[in-house]
Amino acid sequence: MRHAWKRNILCCGIFIVMLIIFLHPDMNARRSYEYIEKNDILSNLFEKTAENFTSPAVLHCEYHNLLFDDTTLSISLVDGDLVEGHKIKEGGEYSPSECKPRFSTAIIVPYRNRAEQLRGFLVYMHTFLHHQCIHYRIYVVEQLDSRMFNRAKLLNIGALAAMRSGYPCLILHDVDLLPLRPGNLYACTKQPRHMSSSINKFRYVLPYLNVFGGAVAIASNQYKAVNGMSNEYFGWGGEDDDFYARLEAKGLKMSRFEPETSRYHMVSHKSQHKGSGRQKLKVAKERMASDGLNSLTYTEIATVLHPLFTHIMVDL
């Protein structure tokens, strides 16, 4: 009798311990999170156009209908071509002619060696952004040297170029992400915004609450205030968490739109080499003042204005 009793207790104990281990309290992937309600989006937007931008139109553009647009764009757009007469200026700049846009956005895309993907991305993004009635320009920053890919540094370079052209809002965008919902307005909110919070590749969940990579919208002055991103992250991973730590240190809260609006399609590709950024992450806040926009050194090989994008080629 005593033996059976002990056995039951032992079984229960083992079971509970196993349950706690396998419930993974440290892993917090989630499908729901705090977001800006659709009705509050307009009042939360950071309304500003580029410094030297003028529109011939008289009326201001309206965004209400766009924000409540529930349609989903088709991924097959990447295989097609842009329609004729798209009025995109050299360097990938566009502004609607029928109304005066309220937002100017520079979309900065770090890039290397994925010509076919870039082509699809540009066609898709121009089609997508034409629906949005905003003034925008696409910058593609390409790393030409053979060192490991440094996404954050490329973004810094692109951001500097965009800020020089007077863009008040930057969108840091990966080339493999395609926004699916027209309601996902490519403009900055008053707080930095994590846009790609519902990616198909990640089962439409957030891997962890403070993820701040993929596609991010941030006002230029905020980007300057946190000294941009770190230049030290070679290889894949870490730089986005470092960036989030910087925002946190400056007291900037991250915002998001609701998951349905923030749906993205990730174009499949081979995984990249993992970097070794985890140790750097611990001292992210200390390095913030000395590592970033103010310590940016690189060699610019060329800047070419292509019909669909501004191509900045650099050696890091």
Partner: protein
């Protein structure tokens, strides 16, 4: 002093250790991971390995039942469950794409499955020890619809059978546990493989939050992903087998299929 071993916790324990039997019981724990590892090399090899496992199972089924008296098959079931569980909890959850709620539902289903199979085995062992199933329901003289189970050495009714994969007889007292266990195992595997495949592959939205895998082209580039993928494919194979078992149990209750000529055909799935 609490002197307990793993043996005590298992419902089935042999008190006579035998070198050959032990070897049979350990082999699946070595063969299965080896097969899964080999299958991660490429898509073609995955297909070959899965076909080989399927053929092996068919070969076992085609042999006379008495010959399959070995703990190998029960070990195979245990090792399959163990490895699939470990890959799910370590590999697939490591991708950070499974929410805690989903993991919790999975663990709940798994716990229920384990409980029912544990009860099934415990009841079978109890029957074997006490022999109470030789009472009223089972006449000492073999009637037309009952036969003698060579392996357990007790008499079983035609509708019941000996399962080599569970190494016990499924009799009237534990038939309910067996059926519910199979149903729960089906649900657990369905849920687990769906979570796994949608994590490693590109998913699409079927309805609401239900996702289905769509494009699994780039899983072989990374060993981790490939192993998760291969294990999920193996799980889908298991799912198919459980589906056949459940279908078989369903067919038995349809009178038409209880006739002898059908019975022979259906009883292939008495696993």
């Amino acid at each position: 002093m609490v002197t307990l071993t793993i043996q005590d916790l298992l419902p089935y324990n042999t008190n006579k250790p035998n070198k050959k039997v032990d070897m049979d019981a350990i082999l699946p724990f070595l063969i299965l991971p080896l097969l899964l590892l080999v299958a991660t090399i490429s898509r073609a090899i995955t297909i070959i390995v899965m076909v080989v496992i399927g053929m092996g199972a068919l070969y076992v089924l085609s042999r006379p039942r008495q010959k399959n008296r070995s703990p190998f098959f029960y070990s195979w079931t245990l090792s399959s469950a163990l490895y699939m569980f470990l890959i799910f909890e370590i590999g697939i959850l490591g991708l950070l794409e499974i929410t805690q709620l989903e993991n919790f539902i999975f663990l709940l289903l798994l716990t229920c499955t384990c409980y029912f199979f544990y009860k099934m085995k415990a009841v079978a062992d109890f029957e074997l020890a006490t022999g109470s199933s030789k009472g009223k329901e089972y006449s000492p003289v073999l009637t037309s619809d009952s036969h003698y189970c060579q392996i357990c050495q007790i008499e079983v009714n035609e509708r019941f059978f000996h399962s080599i994969w569970w190494d016990c007889c499924v009799l009237k007292p534990n038939y309910g546990y067996f059926l519910v266990g199979q149903l729960l195992a089906f649900a657990t595997l369905l849920f687990g493989t769906n979570l796994g495949l949608t994590s490693v592959c590109q998913p699409f939205i079927l309805y609401g939050t239900i996702l289905m895998p769509e494009d699994c082209d780039d899983v072989y580039y990374e060993f981790n992903m490939a192993l998760c993928f291969v294990t999920c494919v193996y799980g889908v194979g298991y799912l198919f087998v459980i589906f056949l078992v459940l279908l078989h149990q369903l067919l038995i209750y349809i009178p038409k299929y209880s006739e002898p000529q059908w019975r022979k055909l259906i009883n292939v799935f008495n696993v």
